[in-house]
Structures are given as structure tokens and as C-alpha cells.
Symmetry: C3
Subunit: 168 residues, 3 copies
């Protein structure tokens, strides 16, 4: 069975870099599963910066919604990095999909993977309660997704100011 790792932390806490290092520590070639969609210039810029940092040992697969299918399709020798679950959840909620079912399907799949998989997610629930009801629903859902995925993963890491704390 392939090792499974969840990396969480606040924005710009060094999660993606840690995840890239961990993924390349699990295989010479790796697959980057990008959930981001370049809806606006700010996001396009962020995607471009992340891509520029990754070297030629990476193959990129863009998949905003069907993560379970993508994990099945890419299961082989190379470790996968899924960056990130928070955007995936946001894509699911915005498209009206059953995010709860999609998360359960993903969790059931994790222990059945042959190749390793590293997930990146975000801490979004340690601020003041948002006035916006959609934002409250989103941070509730994000917390539940993080709990479910971390329960299914072998390891859980929290990034703080660029440095990892091993939680599980």
C-alpha cells in the first residue's frame, strides 16, 4: 500500500514546498494533481508561480472536481501530490456537487492506493466567525473534510512559518 500524507496549515505557511519535498522523497518522478482553476488574474499568477518552482521531474494533471477518478487513473509507480483539497471542496460546492459523498469516496480510496499520495489542505477555521453564511458553511465543510482525510491518511503534518509539526 502506498503511503498517504496530509499537510495542513495557514496560507503561505510553506505547505506546498513541504509537500513537494515529501513527494519527491517517495519517488524520482512525481505527478502533480492541481485542483486550482485560473478564474482570475490573481489565481493565474499563483498557479504560474507554483509551476515555475517545480522541476522537470513533475508531470501535471489538472482536475478541479473528480479527485477519486484521478487517483485511480494515476495509481502506479509514481507518488502523487494533490494541491489542494480546499480548492477542490470550493469547486465542488460552487458546482452544487455532493461534496460530502465525494469526500467519503476519496477517503475509501486512500487505503487502496498502490502509489503514495500527499494531500495539501488549508486551515480556514481559526479566525473570527465570518458574517457571510456561505463562508461559515465553507469553513465548516473544510474542517470536516480535513478531519475525514486525516483519519484516512498515515501521517498528518501542520506547517507553521515554513516549518512542519508532526501531528500524527
Amino acid at each position: 500500500m502506498g503511503k498517504s500524507i496530509l499537510i495542513t496549515g495557514g496560507v503561505r505557511s510553506g505547505k506546498s514546498r513541504l509537500a513537494e519535498d515529501m513527494t519527491l522523497g517517495l519517488g524520482r518522478r512525481a505527478i502533480y494533481i492541481a485542483t486550482a482553476q485560473a478564474h482570475d488574474a490573481e489565481m493565474a499568477d499563483r498557479i504560474a508561480r507554483h509551476q515555475a518552482r517545480r522541476g522537470p521531474e513533475w508531470r501535471t494533471v489538472a482536475e478541479p472536481l473528480q479527485l477519486a477518478r484521478t487517483l485511480r487513473d494515476t495509481d502506479g509507480d509514481a507518488p502523487r501530490l494533490v494541491d489542494c483539497l480546499t480548492l477542490w471542496l470550493s469547486n465542488l460546492m460552487l458546482s452544487g456537487a455532493d461534496w460530502d459523498g465525494a469526500c467519503a469516496e476519496l477517503c475509501a480510496l486512500i487505503p487502496r492506493q498502490s502509489a503514495p499520495v500527499v494531500f495539501v489542505t488549508n486551515e480556514v477555521g481559526a479566525g473570527i466567525v465570518p458574517e457571510n453564511a456561505l463562508a461559515r458553511a465553507f469553513r465548516d465543510a473544510a474542517g470536516l473534510v480535513n478531519q475525514s482525510i486525516s483519519r484516512s491518511c498515515d501521517e498528518l503534518w501542520l506547517c507553521v512559518a515554513g516549518h512542519p509539526i508532526k501531528v500524527k
Copy 2:
């Protein structure tokens, strides 16, 4: 003297479930001290979901404001779970009560309890500074309450994605 434990973390980080497990680890029957008030459908729904999860070994006491009195009244053989301090603080501030004095009274009481008590609180101060002055005052107060209660407790745990980190 009864053991005292504070559990903190972001929203939906698994605090309540950890607190329930820890409380039942301290006694066969337990008392759930609920500070939540069902002001709206969203909160009523959250309260109902939490209650449905707890089994018949729990007795529930609802107390939005008088936590010190409730701790004195319930001190006996059974461990208590107070869920949560952040809502208690919010109730105190909204009712114009002296939250600072109420917190000091509670802290003084903790080391004098015979039965164990487990407190749940929230991290609300790790986001961007809110534009709303009341929200800023609330997160300052919440941080101070968390510091005071954790100083009075034997143990402090931080929940991250459903998993606990022992801080103290």
C-alpha cells in the same frame, strides 16, 4: 482535586469529539454543560447534531452565563464537559456582563473542584484583523480567556484536523 483540561482548536477541528472521549475516560457517567443558545436555525441544527452524537451516559445542563455557579452545583462524582467557553464569552459580552470578572471567578474555582472538568474553546485569533470593532474586541477577549483558563488547567490540547497536540 479533579483533573482539569482545556481543549482548543479551529472550527470543526474535532474538539468536541475529543472532549467527549476524554470526559468519558474520566468517569462512567458524565455531565454536559452546554453554553450554546439556539438563537437561529443554524445554531439549533448544530446543537441537535452534537446532542444526537452523545449517548445515554450523558446528562445535559444548559447554562449560557453562570458557569462558575454551574460548576459548583455539579461538583460531585461525575466529570463535566463545558462546551464551549467561546459561546459563554459571547453570551456574557452580548448581555453586557463583566466577562473579565466572570473569567477570574471561574479560574479561581478550577483548582477547587472535586470532580474533573474538561473545557472546550475556539481559536478565533489566527485570521486577518477584522474590520468590525466588536469582532476585534471579541477576539482579544477570547484570547485572554483562553490564556487564563489554560493557566488554571492541568492540561492543554490543540486539535488539528481531528488530531490532538498536547501543549501542556
Copy 3:
């Protein structure tokens, strides 16, 4: 070479008090480098409360922008406490200065200091994505500054409810 320490955490998590204790643990007299500017009554009140807590062993230097120069000017026998980097970054961004360059200059300076230096910063990126573009830019910049400074420091601590977790 003087020891260098970064202390991070949410608002009112006990960072300043921990930083003061650590700084006084590194020398009998200490220098407090304050980056805060009393723009309004709320901030003036916070500055006054922090000052009242510090004893006569502290000398205060106020410097909202030129941290690198202030570190050079104060390098001697006494440990320095810089409180805090988040306000410094905010001052730089509001004045249109090159915060990225200023951060790189500061990082290069840290390993060349004779006297110890303790930095306080804030976690601002663990809440929901702000609707305000400036707030998003600020929390991105704050995360990058925290990563850079923590990489240059010997130690990194995270404050939770008044208690420190050693991260590095």
C-alpha cells in the same frame, strides 16, 4: 553570534509575554524595539498596556520601518525584542516601501548579530479567505515574511492559549 528566536501565534495568545521572558532570560537589561504606531485610541491603549507591563530593565526604541538599521544600531551586549513583524510589514506596505527587499535585508542581518534578538509575529492566515484584496495581499506577504525570518532564526515557537510549542 547572538541567538535568534521567532515567536508566532494568534492574537492574544501570549506571544509578547513569552518574548519578554525569553529576552530577559538572555540578559539582565534588554532593548524593546516597538514597531507599533499609535494611529488611533485602540492602538494607543494596546501600546500603553504593553509598556506598563515591562519593568525598568527595558529601554524602548520606537521604529516603525527601519528594522535592519535599528538592529545594527542596537547591536551590543543587550538582547533585543522586536514586537512585532506584522505591524512592521503593515507599516512598510502602507508607506509603499519595498517590503520584500526590506525582509531580505533583515534576514541577511540576523546571523551577523552579536547580541541576541527575539522577534514576535502573528498568524493571520488561518481564517477564511478575506473578501478584501488588500487583506489577501497582506496575509500572503505576512506568511512569506514569517517563513523567511523563521528560516534565518535559530528557534521558532508557536504560542497557543498562553503556552509555547517549540517548532524548530
